[in-house]
Point group: none
Chain length 210, copies 4
């Protein structure tokens, strides 16, 4: 296959991707290092040139996924001329879309035996999301639109709600997703203390979009 010499980073990426494919197919514990090297077409020993251990690979996969998920969201948080509510809702959309549009990712998390992954990515993504969210909430307080007392906790709550891993199988049908999005928007904006006019306006926007 691809046994010829290769740029180290490319080999590494190739191994990570093969691993993700196999984890999605067979689950973490059922996937042996030998399966991964076979998939890529390299020798058993080659694996240990790129990863210290299987656990090390698992870490790399967790980081890989978390980064992919958080990337776009952070960019939005830092876009300068945009009001907090707008940012928050765009972050929500970005997060929903990154997961719902990557069916490999969904398969990966849904696979029984990948619960450990789910948990670690979830924690990691939440951890990465919280600072961005906190900044946006703070901005909203400055703008006078959010009346919440503890922006840091609120950031955690919102991050937890956005939980990357589809807790309610909401991605299964578009209709459920629309419903869920509307309810989430209402709940979060109210939770942050928006006035009813803003809440109503944003729900209307969600509804007309679908």
């Amino acid at each position: 296959m691809s046994s010829a010499r290769k740029a180290p980073a490319a080999r590494r990426a190739e191994l990570i991707e093969a691993a993700m494919r196999l984890f999605a197919e067979k689950g973490l514990d059922e996937t042996a290092v030998s399966d991964i090297v076979y998939e890529v077409g390299v020798a058993q020993g080659t694996f240990y040139l790129y990863f210290e251990s299987k656990a090390d690979l698992v870490n790399a996969v967790v980081v890989h996924i978390s980064e992919r998920i958080v990337e776009g969201v952070e960019r939005i948080a830092d876009q300068t001329p945009m009001c907090a509510v707008e940012k928050l809702l765009r972050m929500r959309d970005e997060l929903l879309s990154v997961v719902s549009e990557d069916s490999a990712l969904l398969a990966f998390f849904h696979r029984p035996g990948n619960e450990a992954f789910h948990d670690r990515v979830s924690r990691d993504a939440v951890r990465l999301l919280v600072p961005s969210l906190e900044r946006v909430i703070e901005q909203g307080r400055t703008e006078g639109v959010f009346k919440i007392s503890h922006p840091d906790d609120a950031a955690r709550f919102i991050a937890a709600l956005q939980d990357v891993t589809d807790p309610f199988d909401v991605f299964a049908e578009p209709e459920r997703l629309g419903h869920h999005t509307e309810a989430l928007t209402e709940f979060v904006l109210r939770g942050l203390g928006c006035d009813e006019a803003t809440v109503a306006r944003e729900i209307e926007r969600v509804r007309t979009r679908a």
Copy 2:
């Protein structure tokens, strides 16, 4: 040890408890079936009289924990003469206390290598919690205190927020726990559309209690 003949249910419980102790100590993967039977003082084969496999035991442990967690909460939801806000806050307290007060449970979930447990119990508990929450939210709508449009989604959000498994290490210090409880109360009540007077009153109650 306890090798004499025993009522089947007692033996089973004994094995589940020994397993939980060891999982908390060494993690799921590092705990061998042989460790569990040694702890209980029975033969290797006895284990397979009560569980089809190690995975079957893990399921039993998940169910055992979920039930323990949800039990008290459901009782509160069904207490007849109590207003919805009161129920909701008591459910919150019950949930926080069942986890924070059982240090074995915390140890269990914190142990690296038990992420899979964490995830599965979390899902399971959320699933069990949602119907109770939904009933309470519906009650609150009837009472005119919650203005939320979608009680079912709200129930899911609240269940996810109460995530049994200590998402932010909030149980580590009492001070953080107080802070968290206050913020959570504010966020949830606002999210459900309570009027500001109620929110303020309940936050005050949390604050003075600590």
Copy 3:
């Protein structure tokens, strides 16, 4: 099921029959004592009231089958007023029919994992068959129809040829069975030194019968 007290011999027979059914289904090694007692509906320990060990049961099954196979054949050998050729051919028919008509027996022997059975029954049946055959051949020599020099060896050869266990899947289709029977008759009668007239006559009888 049949857990009530029962005549010892009946219980034993019940266990042997259940064992044979399961051996036919799953093979010797894949059938556990626990499967057998479950099939009969008695407790694990009851088995050891009737058999010393699993090996003891296996012996009992071998004996059971061999006896069933050889029984009718021996009766024919000892029927007084009948010529040797007639006896030999009737023994052949009896042997073919006892196996071909008992599909359970065929299933039993065909099952991969029952090779050891096949072998032991085969040896045992051959051993039991030889004395009867020897007497018939001796009778044929006296009658002047067989010219063979060593009746004892010839008996062994014929027994081996009749090998109870369907070496060539000859029972699969009736047509093959007819063909096989004809060829076997020709070969054996010639092997025993019959004159060509007798051989031709008996082959004709086989052919017109079918």
Copy 4:
């Protein structure tokens, strides 16, 4: 022992031979994979580099033995300038000698617990022998020396008679072997329809040889 890296085919052969030695000593079921690897001096896992399972090794042993047995016999069947009777008798001798001279093979088959082997090798060898025998019988018919009507069935009968696995413990004493060989020769040649002169000549040859 021989733990250094080795050509795969050599390793495989080494394992097969060690297995045969142990099977002869202790029987199939009493020989653990761990015994085999210990005998060879390699690690447990090494076994599974060369065989998928213990059953896979057993297959390999069956094939190994069958091939060894049949090899010489087939060579004789294909020797061009030789008459059918001569070929048949040489095939008989070859078959008897390959088994009688390899005491390891005899020990192997006699060991209680190796019945399954006996049976499988027997079937396999018979299967392999039939085509060669059929060709020789056909040749004999062309030469006018065999008068049999169904060469294919006859081939099967002869193969079954030659049953490699010592059905009557005939190899125990040389005298019995001589006797057996003589009787077998007589029976087979007559069975194939040789004229009495040929039968008498060949029996004489057997007798004077011993």
